[in-house]
Subunit: 219 residues, 2 copies
Amino acid sequence: MRLVIARCSVTYEGRLTAYLPSAIRLLMVKADGCVAVHADGGAYKPLNWMNAPNHLEESDGSWVVTNTKGERLEIEIEEVLHEFDHSMGLDPGLQKDGVEAHLQVLLAERPEEIEAGLRLIRREYPTDIGPVDLLCEDGEGNTVAVEIKRNGGIDGVEQLARYVERLDRDPRLQPVRGIFVAQSITPQAKTLAESRAVGCVEVDYDALRGIESSVPTLF
Amino acid sequence: MRLVIARCSVTYEGRLTAYLPSAIRLLMVKADGCVAVHADGGAYKPLNWMNAPNHLEESDGSWVVTNTKGERLEIEIEEVLHEFDHSMGLDPGLQKDGVEAHLQVLLAERPEEIEAGLRLIRREYPTDIGPVDLLCEDGEGNTVAVEIKRNGGIDGVEQLARYVERLDRDPRLQPVRGIFVAQSITPQAKTLAESRAVGCVEVDYDALRGIESSVPTLF
DNA sequence: AGGTGTATGTCGCAT
DNA sequence: ATGCGACGTACACCT
């Protein structure tokens, strides 16, 4: 990784056009060739960047980075204040645990936490517009499609409504109803769910996790 | 901005749990206090991070970053290979051109580029579920709601369909139809648009821009 | 503070 | 490659 602190101005032309007036910034060039221009603030997102693969042409006082999509990043370097290069080797990568996928596993094991009498038919049940998180059967033998989100918004309700509409055309499944399950559901989403005849259930991830504390975690 | 290259392992506990085994990485601490852990590859996104505001507690061989939301980033530092600090001053910030907002302005000036005879009633016409990009009237005096996207996907069609449904309840406006406008529209979105009786128009941003070349650009 | 919509989103997975 | 959904999305804007 190459790190350069320099006074520079930057122009990007590609998916949009953007211009960065002269100031002191960090230029970061990673081993894969990607280039990022960082200011000294504003979270982790750089002001400007060009992902790999690209081509970096370095001439006196200017870097020009281009890629095959016709995007172009030009950095005019007025003054280099510090420069450093260090090889790092491959990164072993990140191990994650605990997002929507885990919530889905927990609820697949205990569908009765969603609604009494609910029984799992299949997880990730495929339809021609994408997989339904859980396909279940209720106490009366009717099909129930379950969409699981961490944060329940309007989008999730629409997504579920599309699945239900699709599944309900299958004579082996119909009638099909939907239940929208999330840790929290916005009032707007609840309103939309009502008008789409979709049920809403809020679940407590930590409590569910507590129930199945016997299962070993990732690490 | 403080830059440290170190062999370290990292644990994050917060919205999820994540673990990063020992390797050489770049630790970046910006003036606003945000911390990022970068590997030497993989676009601009850090492996792990903690945005400002936070609290960084630095002890021998370990950094603990916490925030008020109960998130916690712990960096175990085994070996520091390089360290550097440089003040940069405030950044003048980025000037952008060519995002959805600009496309909306261009089309508001020339609605006939969307459909012959189309006339603008209002930009950002408010409804109780959000603003419609353009509200227009067609050659026959019927109301047309226009949703503009750079990249047209299913979501945009759904969004427009919601607006049309809402607007069509207003006796002063009905009947209302929708036109989905984007630089490119996915086949799935076109199919969905058809089943929602929504029109689709693909526009060329550069061409539109050329038409109004008299208007001065941002820079 | 919370909800909604945008993003040069990025990233991963399936087609 | 492209489409599609998830993301510790971040971020601006508005209520």
